[in-house]
Amino acid sequence: MPSPRPILRPAFPCGLSRREAIWEMGAGFAGLALSALLERDGFFARHAAGATPAANPLAPRAPHQAVPVKSVIFLLMNGAPSHIDTFDPKPTLDKYAGQSIPAEMKFINSGGRAMGKLTPACRPFKACGQSGIPISDFFPKMREHADKMAVIRSCHTDTHAHGSALVQMNTGKPLIGRPSLGSWVVYGLGTENQDMPGYVVLLDKRGGPIGGQPNWSSGFMPASFQGTLFRPVGNPILDLAVPADLGRDGQRRQLDLLAALNDEHMRSRPGGTELAARAASYELAYRMQAEAPAAVDLGEETAATLEAYGVHQEPTAEFGRNCLIARRLVERGVRFVQLYSGGGHLEETWDAHESVEKNHGRHAGETDQPIAALLTDLEQRGLLDSTLVVWGGEFGRMPFSEGEGKPGRNHNPYGFSMWMAGGGVKGGTIYGATDELGFAAVENRVHVHDIHATILALLGLDHTRLTYFHQGRDDRLTDVYGRVISEIMA
């Protein structure tokens, strides 16, 4: 009887790593001690957690640690909102308004753009909720949920360009080719509803993020873990639509004939589990054709719900619809949902080079009500404890204006803000700080790796143990970095 091996095997010549070979030799007492050492080391756990059954890579799996959170909704503010104008008030800027940024503050001037003078926030802040978290006037409705939020003000990232920064926020590194956060999550946990994709991405109508597909890619992991783009109207998934000339009945007949032919083929090929799995995937595809459009069909929602999300009014219609779909997806057991606010380039995104007031006025106008409605809706339906909501962009913006007298701000990777809410998050907290000008994160600095480690931890996954063997090492979302910010965990 062949000995059991981990399903994802390292590509060693004999099929065993040195550790495994020693283990399997069962060297008596020494062997036992070694096993114990390896067990304590988490060696076996590493090779078991995330192991992909060949038959169904998306079958739900337990996390390393039991937690209430089951799903993530990541609200990605594409283009990078200004932290100074949203969640990180800097009264010092009022004092130094009109002055140049101190010469000691070194930075990369993204795009070689014109540099203006220090400029205060364009809208006032207000202390909100019982916790008193200051939130900008741009978000009057989100303000009501301040006590749910853990605001992280000390975020920082490694690159100042949208393409690479978006890829970094999504995959951990600014270079393409790595699996995205959602891929790691479904790799570790599978998904609850087998009739739907486990990882769904809803883009802004104006376009995708700069960089495109690598932002929801499964990288070096199997394709079954990649994000599925959902179009919010009609047939949400590529190639989902049953061809009109065949109709559902015509296709059913195709599937029945196919099953018969495959059965015959399998009979002479015993042990072909992948043959059976492929046959099964057709039945799943057939069900998905019905289930996926139902998820985006808002027909059963009440008028009150549609109004709360702003589905029938401008400018909230599109994002309102997407937030409502996100709730429906999470209700249906989808593991990871990512929504993009802003698409394409410049003013179509939060990339406020021209005028923060105009740009953020527009995009906050589109998103404030829907996001607030989403939080309320999740809470009312008892879904908030099992859903982690994350808000943020790919970097922040500079404390000085872009050019003299021009009220826009350039890119700032050195300091920006994000917030989390929902299951496992300690609401009403502020973590970390930027310097008094809002230029760079200085206190309790939080790198993108730390954000990722924390998101995984909130899902019950240990980021150091969720590994995938690739190019000779146990790679992970956080590479060799990442610190869980336990201070924002309840």
Binding site: G212, F220, L229, R253, Q254, L257, S268
Partner: protein, 217 residues
Amino acid sequence: MTSATYRQASIHPDMEALADRDPGNELLWRADRRRLDAESLRDALLAVSGDLDPRLGGPSFKAPIDGEALEGLSMKGGAYQPSPPEECRRRSLYMFTKRGLIVPLMTTFDQCDTTVPTGKRDVSIVAPQALSLLNNGWVRGEADACAGLVLATASEAGPRVDDAWRRVLGRLPSAEEKEAALSHVMTQMAGDVARERLAWASLCQVLFNTNEFLSID
């Protein structure tokens, strides 16, 4: 590649007994069955439909990508211009690959990340593959082309079924398979002669979806 071991089939006359002794095929008593990789699958679909352009060499071509698939780009349709249709029937070997935008049909069938060396590709089994082979416009177009060839070969249904099997699977159908196929075509036609081509395309498409077509036995 000239060794006797490499040239084995994946089925063996003594299948049961040998499978008992060495179920994992560690000793290579037969070949491991492999699924066609993305490039081979595309080439196979073109070849059996008589559409494959075997020209060697020359510049790459940009395969067409559905509008739906281009929505993920920041510039949407503006970012990608496919080559003229007559260029796009060449082998997948000559396909132009833009690292941030890989032809969806190819990634669906596990074409790997083009930015790093990949010694071994995944072979996933997922519903989107089924969806592609059932619903994708290009795949259906090839099924239609295949049906055109089948219809031209004979005027009787029986020989046409034989021809479809021969073209796509390289063998003749068994008696049961033939009966099922004839019944399928009849039902899809629903008595409407205008649906004849559609019905035969439906049969060809089913053959494209079989494990037999998708695997190298």
